[in-house]
């Protein structure tokens, strides 16, 4: 990069180091010697797994460190302004006006008691940059640019009255209202459905181009980043792994770690899950026939309509759909947390009662569930040993040394060291917690495990490892899975048969290869089209196709 260009950079980060200072013990580095720059109108992506320091770096660009963290050295220069050398009030002046931040969860960032307009226009109004009327006019213009429906009136609503994808775009409007020089987007689409994700992504991309804003885009998913970024900075453990233009990183990665990220990205796998060998089994392991169920008194609001499903022993059925499709409700009905209004559940030829209370111990033991959020599925006050030992006690009456040995065996099964027995869940990483969750389900020696979005909250590389583990366990123990996910690329890797759900109904059902080869149901097609491709330019192609068909 020539010195002439360096002069024009909107943001220059040089040798940035951030230390974490624990309450007790020595400080340790969490961001180590990071340098990068953002040219005007360009987007730089920070990519890496959780703990790689990507959020810490993006916050440091605003001269902010989370409680317990200290920026120890380096420089951050925003359009010639040395951010780290400003005093507190100057920093506050710059934040929100010159540099703004869009957080991962828009739902958690909005105040549900104030209207959207009030919050979007807050910064220019309190900083006396615009009058409320001017700010509102500007907000409406931004809503229009972000493709929000009814731009004149959407701002008069409250946050809970708009969808998650819309809220995320409103968050961007809030960030853009002062025309910042730099926009920081921290995992803005991670919490969204795939179909919504590409709409939001497109809206962000358009806005950035129209306004010629520079941006930092933080994500763990390379395929998303490839659509929006110009340069990519790959991070691992707070250190730079690789830094370069998107094309170079995607097609010609120099580092092994980058290649791992590419392999784990949420793109369609080259080879889908091989078809099961014997498709004709006498009695399937599990059948759900014509299930209708709903919430409220007497199932007042129906969320599942006439859903049928069957899965053979040792196979996996994938259930896919967006949020609100009823896929998780189906999981709850099968494991007994919810009784169906109509329909039968059949476990290896024998009908089982819908209500948990009426099921026998044996029926309970044969069906286990693993939840999405590993951290809330483990009791934070129990050690791992207690968590894993309880099902052994409960179902098999094991205790003492026998149970302890079995716990060690279970930990081995999910590839965790035996020393984890004495730990509390908070001392484990997200992936490790999910393994413990899986081990707890395995402790019951179940025939059927319901996996409810178990990889969705994990980083791509960790999720990949969990999928491999599931596959391995199935091969060794012959367990049957019902795998619920919103990500069709994950389903393609693990499922033998797929049920595509929309608004509580199964719209397409068949073997994975049938579902994934055309002709598709139009909704399946939409889901398939929403899986990002690693190559830049994919987004434009898909959006053009959607416009055409609309």
């Amino acid at each position: 990069m020539s010195s002439d260009q360096m002069h024009n950079d909107i943001l220059q980060v040089r040798n940035l180091c951030v230390d974490a200072v624990p309450r007790k013990g020595k400080p340790f580095a969490i961001v180590n010697d990071i340098s990068f720059s953002v040219e005007p109108g360009k987007v730089v992506a920070l990519i890496g797994e959780s703990g790689s320091g990507k959020t810490t770096i993006s916050l440091a660009c605003m001269a902010y460190a989370k409680p317990g963290c200290v920026i120890t050295s380096g420089s951050v220069e925003l359009d010639g302004m040395k951010m780290l050398e400003l005093n507190q009030s100057e920093k506050q002046l710059a934040r929100g006006v010159n540099i703004s931040y869009v957080a991962q969860s828009a739902a958690a960032s909005f105040n549900s008691a104030l209207t959207i307009n009030r919050q979007v226009t807050e910064i220019p109004v309190i900083k006396n940059l615009m009058s409320r009327e001017e700010a509102e006019k500007k907000a409406i213009e931004l809503y229009r640019q972000l493709d929000l429906p009814d731009p004149e009136n959407i701002g008069k609503r409250y946050p809970h009255q708009v969808s998650g994808g819309q809220l995320q775009r409103l968050m961007a409007a809030m960030a853009m209202i002062c025309d910042p020089k730099l926009l920081i987007l921290d995992e803005p689409t991670t919490a969204l459905d795939v179909t919504t994700q590409i709409e939001v992504l497109q809206a962000f991309k358009n806005l950035i181009h129209q306004k010629n804003t520079s941006a930092i885009y933080v994500s763990h998913d390379l395929s998303v980043v490839a659509q929006i970024a110009d340069d990519i900075l790959v991070l691992k453990d707070g250190k730079m792994v690789e830094y370069g233009p998107v094309e170079q990183i995607v097609s010609n990665a120099k580092q092994d770690y980058t290649r791992m990220l590419i392999d784990a990205a949420h793109v369609m796998p080259d080879t889908i899950h091989p078809a099961p060998v014997n498709t004709k089994q006498e009695t399937p392991m599990f059948e759900a026939n014509n299930i209708t169920a709903g919430y409220g008194i007497n199932h007042a609001s129906i969320v599942l309509k006439d859903v049928s499903l069957r899965v053979n022993k040792g196979e996996t059925v994938g259930v896919i759909g967006e949020s609100g499709s009823g896929k998780s409700t189906l999981g709850r009905v099968i494991c007994g947390l919810m009784s169906p209004k109509i329909g039968d559940l059949i476990l290896e030829g024998a009908a089982i009662p819908g209500a948990l209370k009426q099921r026998s111990l044996e029926q309970l033991q044969r069906i286990q569930i693993v939840f999405q959020m590993a951290d809330v599925a483990l009791n934070p006050r129990h050690r791992i040993q207690k968590i894993l030992q309880r099902p052994l006690e409960f179902y098999f009456g094991m205790s003492g040394q026998e149970a302890k040995n079995r716990v060690i065996e279970l930990l081995e099964l999910v590839e965790l060291p035996a020393s984890f027995m004495d730990r509390y869940p908070r001392e484990l990483s997200g992936g490790q917690k999910q393994r413990v969750n899986l081990a707890r389900a395995l402790a019951a020696k179940p025939d059927l495990i319901i996996c409810d979005e178990i990889t969705s909250a994990l980083d791509t590389i960790v999720a990949e490892a969990i999928l491999d583990l599931l596959q391995d366990l199935q091969d060794r123990l012959g367990i049957t899975y019902i795998f619920i996910s919103h990500d069709i690329s994950t389903i393609a890797k693990i499922a033998d048969t797929v049920a595509v759900m929309r608004l509580g109904e199964v719209v397409e059902y068949g073997s994975t290869s049938e579902i994934l080869t055309p002709p598709h149901h139009e909704y399946t097609e939409l889901l398939l089209d929403s899986v990002p491709d690693l190559h830049p330019g994919w987004l434009e192609k898909v959006m053009a196709k959607r416009l055409e068909s609309a």
Binding site: L361, V376, R381
Partner: protein
């Protein structure tokens, strides 16, 4: 491994001690010591009339805190009074806690009609001003120590119920409870092993606050003449019976009042310290 973690937990506690915490712990240890050993360390019996003169000032006739309205030794009265106060309030707080949290957890776990019924009954009881309710019950049943304990514990348990139920409601929706339900666990296990450990820290803090309220409550009742009956006296009764002393300019009513303040303030500060500590012991997030 286990002993090691235990040792480090005690060490942790030691390292976290603040000057305030040390002072409060010292006060509490002194209070507990006095209430356990009152008969041995008190210079006189609580009912023994030592002097012909009432309301002697501190130091007169070698009585360290002077005499009360009947000429009894004030220091001994306070030692015995502390003993009664601490014994009654600890019993009340424990009882209130046991009953309140059990029903609170039960309501949250069972939900539906059980929760609604229990909660409305408790609402109705809370609607009575607590001092009025206590006065009615104590007057009706006669003021004896068991009646006092049961009445105040009953009234306090309705407050504990609210807190316990709210805590349990937050915990009951967590995924690990659902996992336990899917496993087929009964209510007993869910309440005892899944909810209680997670509600323990806030409940312990609430216990401290309830304990101080119980002291104030029993003192208030005694002040009104419905509490501990003569010749025994708790700290509140000591304040009331020596009120006249204010006219003579002696400290007789002041000393027991200071004792009440010392107990309640030090317990409260320790609770604050404990809460802050348990917040800080959450994992550091980066």
């Amino acid at each position: 491994m286990t002993t090691e973690t235990k040792k480090s937990a005690i060490l942790d506690l030691y390292e976290d001690l603040t000057p305030t915490a040390i002072l409060c712990i010292f006060c509490l240890v002194a209070i507990v010591f006095v209430s356990v050993f009152a008969p041995f360390i008190a210079p006189f019996d609580e009912a023994e009339i030592i002097s012909d003169e009432s309301f002697l000032s501190a130091g007169d006739e070698s009585l360290i805190l002077g005499s009360d309205y009947l000429g009894r030794d004030m220091l001994s009265r306070i030692f015995y009074g502390t003993r009664v106060t601490v014994y009654i309030s600890v019993t009340i707080a424990t009882l209130a806690f046991f009953v309140g949290s059990m029903f609170g957890f039960l309501a949250a776990t069972l939900g539906g009609i059980y929760d609604a019924t229990l909660s409305r009954v408790v609402d109705a009881l809370i609607a009575f001003p607590s001092i009025m309710l206590a006065m009615i019950l104590v007057t009706a049943l006669g003021p004896s120590i068991p009646v006092l304990i049961i009445t105040i514990a009953f009234i306090d348990s309705t407050r504990v119920y609210r807190v316990a139920r709210a805590l349990a409601m937050d915990i009951i929706v967590q995924d690990y409870i659902e996992v336990a339900k899917v496993r087929g666990e009964g209510y007993g296990w869910i309440m005892w092993h899944e909810i209680l450990p997670n509600a323990f820290a806030p409940l312990a803090a609430e216990f401290g606050i309830r304990f101080t309220y119980a002291i104030l409550f029993i003192s208030a009742l005694s002040f009104l003449g419905l509490g501990v009956q003569p010749p025994h006296a708790d700290l509140g009764a000591l304040v009331r019976e020596n009120m006249q002393g204010l006219l003579y300019g002696t400290g007789a009513p002041i000393y027991p009042a200071l004792c009440i303040a010392m107990i309640t303030i030090s317990v409260n500060l320790i609770v604050d310290w404990f809460l802050k500590r348990s917040d800080a012991s959450l994992p550091d997030e980066f």
